[in-house]
Symmetry: C2
Subunit: 419 residues, 2 copies
């Protein structure tokens, strides 16, 4: 009887977890630099709240982990961090604007596949209470700053205002705008021919079809100035001045249809020959009210943490330690007390270390330190205790050096210690 | 239609979340200083795994959030971090000892009450693969170091080895040891009279009863030297030398009966007139094998994060900022570009700041900064842009000072900036 993680989920082993934590820590650092406040909400919610995003339908049950508690309350694991935020805003008096960030897991009952998991992390920043384009620019900026800090210089922010595409489609006399959006949204996946085929089956006349496909290729905001929403889009782009070369206007970007009301954006990074979407978001001005609150405009961005971690792992740009310990204190003979004392001093000096708790011989201790990729080893025996000198071994280079035992912690404290 | 968090759960609003994060960050820092590696596992597990802790019984379903996924897999939200760790060790080849930490939420279907939540945080450190008392001492030490760093100096570590109490009870000719343990475990709650009543109903003769009650009062390890397990206990206490005044031998401590096999410990802190348990753990040498793995001795400690946060909040010893922003950049007139530039410089210098995104007048902006408890405000208008001088206001003291706009970020960087 051996157990595995449930289907669609996985364990994150230490080496990967160190990378994941680095990304989460970076996100948090920048969220806070931009004045966003942390908010935590439960892992599960009233299923009706989760359904509200889709207009209250039962169909949400197919996409989430739905269950009843022992009092027959109908619950579901949250599928994003936006709906819980909107619930909190709808039911609480908070000074506005509310800049909030949230970092946590969400769950979706998708078909698991390569890089598709039923449990995954999100890191979100949202501003509730402001309808201004400066708020959109702030949430986009913070995501850009995070990606830059993680070493991505060539990310692309695609941005649109759904109102623009909508008013153009409507101007062609087409009423089922949402149907058209659903097909346009697939442009990157199924290509122009695929979209045409879909639009045809949706009874869009070919003349209009061509016009739509031409329109969504427009990448110059100045060519659509007269359309509803273009002013907002222009304002955001101008507020994002610092990232001018990363911004790309994209009239084909419409994103998930559930709650976005205007501005939408998506950030992608190159990964080999592909371009991977690592963040996305937009403006959702009606959600708080739909959940029973006073009307509150809102905008936000969500980072796809696992995607970012994956690209960083593949590119190998991020060099992180494989284990927290910087020093392994190996021992020969019965020097437990001295080892414990040395460890205590190191830890108090902020140097992560560990020592043998298996009463192993020196060779096995060194094998362990090596298997763990602990960068440095010192060896303490009775001789070393007497002489107050120990050997310090750099496990990567193999270089050994004799140094004073007293004050060792100060030496190892140096982040740039080189032998 | 307003939604609340599901029964037994709650939202953690920014001010409380900042405190909670501080505790989690402190725990993580010390876990890593002690060489523990991070491991993350899914929120839910195969329910049979969760049940294994109790010997595989259906009764676990009453205590957990149990549900089926859409393929009728029987799952449950994890109720601790120890069982998932043991699953990982049972099914993976890992260098031993495995020092792992985990920080995450767990869920129990308890009756909610004052300070009892169905969703709560745990922060755990465990060492798998070592049966030595040094491993027990390491997990106790790291918890002590965390509590000390959080400002608790007067915590008490109660410690026992269940084998000692067990061998004494057996030496009296009593066979239903577990029944006796269940009663002894309640000594703190129901008192000596209560325990006596229970033991009587369990048919323990009064002579033996008196002997048991005398025995569990022994607080001197030297008085029980000849009993099984006493040597181990002595070794741990001697390894914990640095915390000698915090350690208390307690023969009445037996803790939850599920998986502990020997050493058990509990750490409590004074809170008003009460003493609150904030951490606990012990040795569980059989769990990995029970889950299908090769035998692997293990020991660990779990911090009750919410309890710690609560005590810190009540005592008021921990002074943390109420919001991440250190500076609010208020503006008069159309100086958006300059405000954005100032914010950019500050953020790049590591100074958290925010600015108006609501086009509010100065009074409203200051009201907002005040409501958020942002410590400093600077005011930028056209005059300030020309003169390159701004007013910097300490929101607490009310003191205002004129300073140079250029280089402001360097000044605000100082963690000890005083006007």
């Amino acid at each position: 009887m051996k157990f595995q993680p449930p289907r669609g989920t996985r364990d994150t082993m230490p080496e990967d977890m160190i990378r994941l934590q680095y990304v989460l820590d970076t996100a948090r650092k920048f969220f806070e630099l931009y004045g966003f406040e942390p908010l935590d909400t439960p892992a599960f919610e009233d299923w009706k709240l989760l359904a509200a995003k889709l207009g209250g339908g039962e169909e949400i049950k197919k996409e989430i982990y739905y269950f009843k508690d022992k009092s027959s309350r109908e619950l579901g694991l949250r599928f994003d961090l936006t709906v819980p935020l909107s619930r909190v805003v709808a039911s609480t008096q908070l000074p506005k604007p509310f800049r909030r960030y949230a970092i946590g897991k969400v769950w979706r009952y998708d078909n698991p596949g390569a890089s598709r998991w039923r449990e995954f992390w999100q890191a979100d920043a949202d501003i509730v209470g402001s309808s201004s384009s400066e708020a959109d620019a702030e949430v986009i900026s913070v995501a850009c700053a995070i990606l830059k800090a993680l070493g991505f210089d060539d990310f692309i922010v695609r941005i649109n205002n759904r109102k623009i595409t909508e008013s153009f489609v409507r101007s062609l006399g087409i009423k089922n705008c949402v149907d058209v959006f659903r097909s346009i949204d697939k442009l990157g996946k199924i290509g122009e021919a695929g979209v045409k085929k879909e639009l045809k089956s949706k009874k869009i006349p070919s003349e209009q079809m061509e016009k739509i496909l031409d329109f969504v290729k427009i990448a110059d905001i100045n060519k659509i100035e007269n359309l509803d929403g273009a002013g907002e889009l222009k304002d955001i782009i101008s507020s994002l001045g610092g990232y001018a070369e990363n911004i790309k206007v994209d009239m084909s970007l419409v994103r998930g249809l559930e709650y976005y009301t205007g501005t939408v954006f998506e950030i992608s990074v190159p990964s080999g020959r592909l371009s991977l979407s690592v963040a996305g978001g937009g403006r959702y001005d009606n959600l708080v009210q739909a959940l029973g609150g006073s009307p509150a405009p809102a905008t936000g961005i969500s980072l796809g943490v696992e995607r970012i971690v994956e690209v960083l792992k593949e590119s190998g740009t991020l060099q992180l330690p494989r284990t927290p310990s910087k020093v392994y204190i190996a021992s020969i003979g019965d020097v437990k007390k001295d080892v414990a004392e040395t460890a205590k001093k190191m830890r108090e000096a902020g140097v992560a270390c560990e020592f043998d708790v298996m009463s192993r011989d020196l060779r096995k201790q060194l094998e362990y330190a090596n298997a763990k990729s602990i960068p440095y080893v010192i060896v303490i025996g009775e001789k070393e205790i007497k002489s107050r000198k120990v050997r310090l071994r750099n496990m990567k280079s193999g270089v050994e050096k004799e140094i004073e035992l007293d004050g060792l912690e100060g030496l190892m404290q140096l982040s740039n210690y080189k032998e």
